[in-house]
Each structure stands twice: as structure tokens, then as C-alpha cells.
Amino acid sequence: MSDVETGERPEKLGIREVAALAGVSHMTVSRVLNGHPNIRPATRQRVLDVIQELDFKPNSAARALATQRTQRIGVIVDSAVEFGPTSTLRGFEFAARSSGYSVASVALQDDANLTPETAVGHLIAEGVDALCVVAPRSSSVSALRRISIDVPVLVVKAAKDPTFLTVSVDQQLGTTLAVDHLVSLGHRDILHLAGPLDWLDARGRERAFHTRIEQWGLKARPIVVGDWTSDFGYDYAVGLKGVPEYTAMFVANDEMALGVVHGFHDRGIRVPEDVSVVGFDDLPLSRHFLPPLTTVRQDFHALGVKAMEVLRAALEGREIPQRSKIPSELVVRASTAPPRAS
């Protein structure tokens, strides 16, 4: 999918018209469009309002000439079929557009001929000021590392990185909240159903789970590795011989949790009376599970917005941390309860 502004539309409106309506100088409008930091928020908002009202689209080719920039950001999304990467991309596009950038995005798929190398080459040739890579899997980060890229690169991924700027939802915080919630209910034996461990988020949650369990001094039960799908969760749960020894499950995403809850139901195992289940993501439908799912909320939209914010700061030469995290939060619903009496 591509969303490149063509700039072919005849321009009736210009910066000066916007400036007049907003009651500011045209330089101020220009600064707002280029995302300069030193503008009072109220002024910035006024300008943005006028821009929106007029449906004003700055001519990107002209601006590229003026600023040596294309006002375009390339985005590469790996595994774009999954909920997280897709939602992140949407958040990023939203934030880019509202700060006057266009987005050229490329989706990578497993078996396609499009390698990360060609995707990067393609975007650079098209002319981008910066690259944002939504790289949920370790293989996409590996590939990226081999390519030399001249523009600022931000990678949306959980682990910190020696080379790239990174932005992520705090996986450790979310996992710790989930484990602590179960422990506070009285659970001492918790099974972790992990995601595929070549996904950095799956790995982050697994490691954080391991660490937190050790910190609480709980039984280190072997984890089960799944594939993110509801079917996997279902198959796992119906495959159990009876009520399992553990009293709670921390499932690495809501989709698998949905399958687990369904499988437990078919197996005659009650949630949360027999086994408590906590998910991760807080999908829109998770509040309508039966029972409604206790889960960790990841704000993918905010993640995309944050990524854009960091990249813009990088483009404007402002001080930015190498690694930014946005917090995750626990949403307690009805799938968790104190452990069954043993």
C-alpha cells in the first residue's frame, strides 16, 4: 500500500493564505509545517486548525526544494497481517499526516521476493527523509543491520539497539503487571503460553515472565510456545487431560487467550474458577470474551504516534533518547480470580 502525495493538485491556497487566516506570519506557518520546536502550542494549534479547515496540502515537491527534504517518511512493515504491526502503522500514518509528512509504506511478507534490502532501496530511491521499520521479528532486524542507510532510522521493536532509534510498548512493565496481578490473587503456579520466540515481543514477554517468576520465588514451570493464533490456544486447552496442576495462565496475546478460554470451556474447565487467564494486547473484542478477558493493554496507536514524534525530533536535530518506551497497563476483567481451593 502506498500513500505518496503527488502534489499534482492545482494550488490555490498557499502558506500566505493560511498565515492570514491564522493571524500569524507565513514564517510561523512554515515552522509549524516543518515541525519546529519553538512555537507556542496554542499558536501551533491555531495554524493546524486553519490548515485542516482549508484542507490545505503543502506542495511537497516545492517544499522538498526549499528544505532539501521530501517531507516523506518511508515505513517498512514486517508481518503486516498481524494486529499489532498494522495498528502501529495506522497510528504512525495518522501522526505523520497531522504533522505535514506523507508516508510511503512497504509491507514485507515471508515468502515474497521483496527482501528488506530491496524495500529499503526502493524507498530511498523514492526519496524519504527518514525510515521507520516496524520490525516485530528478529529476522527483520538482522536484515536491516546489513544495509547501510543514510537517513535516520527508527525501529519499532521491544529490545534496545546499539544502532537504531527504538520505540516500543514496555513489555517488561506489562508482563510484570500481569504476573503481579495473579500473585496478588494468590496464584503460585502460573503457566506461560508464549508467542513464537522469533518475535521480539514474544521474547520480551517470556524473558520478563521468567525474571518476575524468579523474583517472586515461584515454581519455574516450563513454558509452552504457541504461534499467536486462537486455534493454537484452543488445541492446547482441549488437549489437556483434566484440570491442570497450575492455577493460572499468562497468555502472550489475546487471540491465543481466546482459544484457550474456548478450549477450557469445551473441556469442562471453568475460567476463572478452575484456571485464571490473563492475555496481552487488549484487542477491541477482548472485553466481549466469555468471561471478559483480563489483559495487558498495548496502545498501538500511541506507539505509532510516538515513533513519528521521535523521528521528527531526529530530523529536526533535537536531543532524543536512543530508546523510548510507552507504558502498558493492566485491564482487570472477569477471567481472573483467586486460585481454586486445592
Binding site: 520466540l197 519455574a220 516450563p222
Partner: protein
């Protein structure tokens, strides 16, 4: 992390180094470049050629072909003295210090400050302090005896000794293998200081995390061949691992994953449980449980401590921490024989040394362990022995001229089966198998795997160690993941698990967003 100007001239440039030892090539045209002010890690599994490369650089091995340049000038490293003269100094894995001598004497040995009246100990000590200062140990009293120092400081004294000649190149062969985490940190601080002074440091190690913590550049070796040089920050852990083991990750991803359906979670009391079992320098204190009829694989790279942990579990090596329980009762595994009496058997990785006795007959090889636990005073009757041997030769399908044939006449795969039979004859409750399929052909491998599965069905709890991860994934109900000599987690086997899962868990950095 520092960037080296790629155009900078390396201090050492070894090109196409080939070394042949007793007719067998141990290095095949290996390249290595060391830059001043850089720490360069030489990575590879056991037998990859790391030590050979170090020996070539320090003049201990004759280089059969290839070229060595130091500061651009070709040099002949014809012996240790020549290497030292060329500016190469080494501090070796085995700290060969004299414990009863002082720090100053150890550092300055062979380089004492001489005056017309002989050795000036005052000047010698002063020089020793200067060298120690380079390592950030300027406040260490050079008159202390070395034996009184903690291991990390001893290691630094050994390095100080190497620095006396003011070398351009410092070679450190596994300097951290006997150090704990704090001691490693002390050593790394010293190495960073040296790096700032412009010394080119070659750091030989198989500890992944340490290499990532300290090195600027990595050269990977495998089977005596170079697998390339990479700036550390550009080489992913997963990629490094795939270069070390010689399999493309995508290829690895394809292997495995043909899993049986979900297995039952082990329930009830474990037959074998260790709590905090460990041994300094070999393996960190670890909890571990085994249930009847379960195959638990140890998944780790070479050097991860998988054999060491197996030896601790099998009672071959005694832990210096932790407790061992069998069926809920605390026991002490003071020797392999004691372990056997508790029905814990360990089948060694090396079937020549710890295993098969080639001169003995197949029959004697099979009954050896059983006879040992019965005690030599109570020999096994001929009838019992023959019945036992017949049974195992048949059920294991051991191809041999007969039970009287010496074991050396058997193929590797059949020797391995004899060995399995030997331990199974003791009717173990717990059987630790260290590399039971190494060096056997594919047919024998499949057979041995089938036998292992069968033992588990009969209720034996099996610990399965193999360098081939796909085999571990195929056989195990559960896998303990080992890295840098500790257990970093356990996974239940199932349809979501593949070799890749293990690799990714190992590759996850300690400082990932965990």
C-alpha cells in the same frame, strides 16, 4: 563501543593462515586483522580453531602457509621469542603464576630491572606498579603473594605480566572461564583501559554475552576456517550463532517443527529433583526436576555448559552447591558408583574414554556397570549374564560377530548401542545421555533415538544432551535452555516449538526488553 576507521591500518594482519599438525590441517587459510585500540573477539565452538589461531599468532605453532604482517611489515613468528619481539604478548587460560611469589616477582619474571650489582628489587617493583596502573590496579601492593589474591586479580596479574614488554598486541585466551560476574566486570574495566591506550586486544571466548559486552569486532571460525570478520554492532546474536554452527537460520527454521501433538504436563512428584545444584566455573546453581517416563533435553550451544550440567546431574562430578533428592529423599552423590546405586546412570559423550572398552568383549562391556554396582565379590551368574546380553543384543539390534567379539570390531553406532545397553542393564531410574549419537551414521542415529523413546515409555527419566538441536527437539518432552553455563528457562515441547525457538531464546540478549 567505538568505531574504527575502516581505512586504518591493522596492527596485525594475518592472511591465509594454514597450520598442519601431524599431517592434519587445523587451520585452513584463515584471515585475522587486529586494530590498535580495539578489542577483537575470536569466536567459535570447541575445535573451531580458536586456540590454533592463538598459537599461530604467539609463535607456538609453525605457520605452514600464509602471511603475517605487523604494522605493515612481514614478520616470521618462528617461536614465542620471535612473537614477543614482534610485539605480541599473551595471557593464557591456565593462569600459570607462582602462587608463593609476590605480585611484582610474578609480573617481572624474566624482565627484572638489572643494575651493575644485580637485580634492583626496588626498581623492579616500581616497574610492576607502573604496569598494574595501566590496568587500574595502581594501588595494589606488589609485595603481596599471588596466592592470596582473588581469581580475577590473579588473572589481571597474568595480564600485567604480558604487558611488561609493552606489546602492541595482547592475546587473551578464555580469560573469563573461571571468573564470576563481578570478576568479569573487573577484568573488562581493565581491558577497556588498555584499549584506550591503543593496545590491540584479541579476546578469545565462547561466552556470547561477554563478547557482545566487550568487543568491537568479531572474527568467527568454524572447523578451522574463517567465517568472516564483522563489526560487533552489526552482527546479530542469531546470525553469529548461525555462523558458528554452520547452518543458515532459515534452514534451521525449516528443520524440526514436525512435532508430535501436545504432551501431558508432567504431574505428581518428580523422581529426581536438584535444588541449587552447581559447581563454580562449570555451571551456575540450578533447580531441575525429572519425572518418570520423561525425556528432558538440554538445549545449548557448545560451551553453554550442557555436558557440565549433565555430569552434575549424573553424579559424575560432584556439585559444590545444592541438594539432590530421589523420590523425595535427600541423597548425596559422592561418586559415580554412589549415583549408580541410587539408579542414576551417566553415559558419556566420549565412548572411547568414559565409555566403551575396546579390548573387552561385547558381553563384558554390557555387564560392566551392573557388575560394578553388584560389587566384584558377587559376580553375576553366567546364566543371568548370557540372558541379559542376549536380550540386549536382540532388542538393540547390535550387529556384532557374537557376544565374545571385542568391542573394537563394532561400528561406532553399534558401540554406542552397547553402551546404552550397559547403562540400561543397571535398570536406572534416571539416565543421562551425553551425545549418544555423536559420530554415528544416520541409520544408527535413528535407531538410538527410537531406543531412547522406548526407555522413556518404560518409565526411565532421560536427560538427553546433543549438539544437534533438531534431535533434541524431536526427542524431548521438555527442554532446558542453557546459555553461558546457566539455565535460562525451560520449554515444553509441542507443535509451536522448533529448533528456531531454542536459537531465538539463546539469542535473546540479557538486556533485551526483558
Amino acid at each position: 563501543m567505538r568505531a574504527t576507521d575502516a581505512a586504518a591500518r591493522p596492527v596485525v594482519e594475518m592472511t591465509g593462515i594454514t597450520v598442519v599438525i601431524e599431517g592434519t590441517p587445523v587451520l585452513h587459510g584463515v584471515d585475522l586483522r587486529l586494530f590498535g585500540g580495539e578489542i577483537h573477539a575470536l569466536m567459535g565452538g570447541n575445535g573451531a580453531g580458536k586456540s590454533s589461531m592463538v598459537k599461530a599468532l604467539t609463535g607456538a605453532y609453525r605457520i605452514d602457509s600464509g602471511e603475517v604482517r605487523i604494522d605493515g611489515e612481514p614478520v616470521a613468528l618462528s617461536g614465542p621469542a620471535a612473537a614477543e619481539a614482534a610485539g605480541v604478548a599473551a595471557a593464557f587460560q591456565d593462569v600459570d603464576l607462582c602462587g608463593n611469589l609476590s605480585i611484582a616477582e610474578n609480573i617481572m619474571i624474566g624482565h627484572e630491572e638489572r643494575r651493575w650489582y644485580g637485580i634492583s628489587w626496588r626498581a623492579t617493583r616500581l616497574r610492576a606498579v607502573e604496569v598494574l596502573d595501566e590496568l587500574g590496579l595502581g594501588d595494589l601492593d606488589p609485595k603481596l603473594t599471588v596466592a592470596a589474591l582473588p581469581p580475577a586479580i590473579q588473572q589481571l596479574v597474568a595480564i600485567a605480566r604480558a604487558l611488561v614488554t609493552q606489546p602492541k598486541v595482547l592475546v587473551l585466551d578464555e580469560p573469563t572461564s573461571s571468573l564470576d560476574a563481578d570478576e568479569v566486570a573487573t577484568l573488562f574495566r581493565a581491558l577497556r583501559r588498555l584499549r584506550e591506550h591503543g593496545v590491540a586486544i584479541l579476546f578469545v571466548s565462547h561466552f556470547l554475552e561477554q563478547v557482545y559486552a566487550i568487543s568491537d569486532r568479531i572474527t568467527v571460525l568454524r572447523d578451522g576456517r574463517g567465517q568472516g570478520e564483522y563489526p560487533t554492532r552489526e552482527l546479530d546474536r542469531a546470525e553469529l550463532i548461525s555462523k558458528m554452527i554452520g547452518k543458515d537460520l532459515t534452514e534451521l527454521r525449516r528443520i524440526g517443527s514436525e512435532r508430535r501433538a501436545h504432551r501431558a504436563e508432567p504431574t505428581g512428584e518428580p523422581v529426581y529433583r536438584v535444588v541449587g545444584l552447581g559447581r563454580r566455573g562449570d555451571f551456575d546453581a540450578t533447580d531441575f526436576e525429572l519425572h518418570r517416563g520423561e525425556v528432558v533435553g538440554l538445549g545449548g550451544l557448545r560451551g553453554s555448559g550442557r555436558s557440565e550440567f549433565g555430569q552434575l546431574l549424573g553424579g559424575v562430578v560432584r556439585g559444590d552447591s545444592g541438594t539432590v533428592q530421589i523420590d523425595g529423599r535427600k541423597v548425596v552423590l559422592s561418586s559415580p558408583a554412589a549415583a549408580l546405586r541410587h539408579r542414576i546412570a551417566f553415559a558419556s559423550e566420549d565412548r572411547r574414554d568414559g565409555g566403551i572398552i575396546e579390548e573387552l568383549s561385547v558381553r563384558d562391556n554390557i555387564v560392566l556397570a551392573l557388575q560394578a554396582i553388584r560389587g566384584w565379590a558377587r559376580p553375576i551368574s553366567h546364566a543371568e549374564r548370557d540372558a541379559l546380553v542376549d536380550r540386549f543384543m536382540e532388542s538393540f539390534d547390535i550387529v556384532a560377530p557374537g557376544p565374545d567379539a571385542p568391542a573394537k570390531q563394532l561400528s561406532g553406532g553399534n558401540q554406542q548401542k552397547v553402551l546404552l545397553a550397559r547403562w540400561l542393564a543397571t535398570r536406572p531410574h534416571v539416565l543421562v545421555l551425553d551425545e549418544p549419537t555423536r559420530g554415528v551414521d544416520i541409520a544408527a542415529k535413528v535407531e538410538i533415538q527410537a531406543r531412547v523413546a522406548e526407555m522413556a515409555r518404560d518409565g526411565v527419566a532421560v536427560v538427553f544432551i546433543s549438539s544437534e538441536l533438531d534431535e533434541v527437539v524431536r526427542l524431548s518432552d521438555r527442554i532446558a535452555i542453557l546459555k553461558d553455563r546457566r539455565k535460562i528457562g525451560e520449554v515444553s515441547n509441542g507443535p509451536g516449538l522448533s529448533v528456531d525457538t531454542i536459537i531465538e531464546m539463546i539469542a535473546a540478549a540479557d538486556d533485551d526488553d526483558a
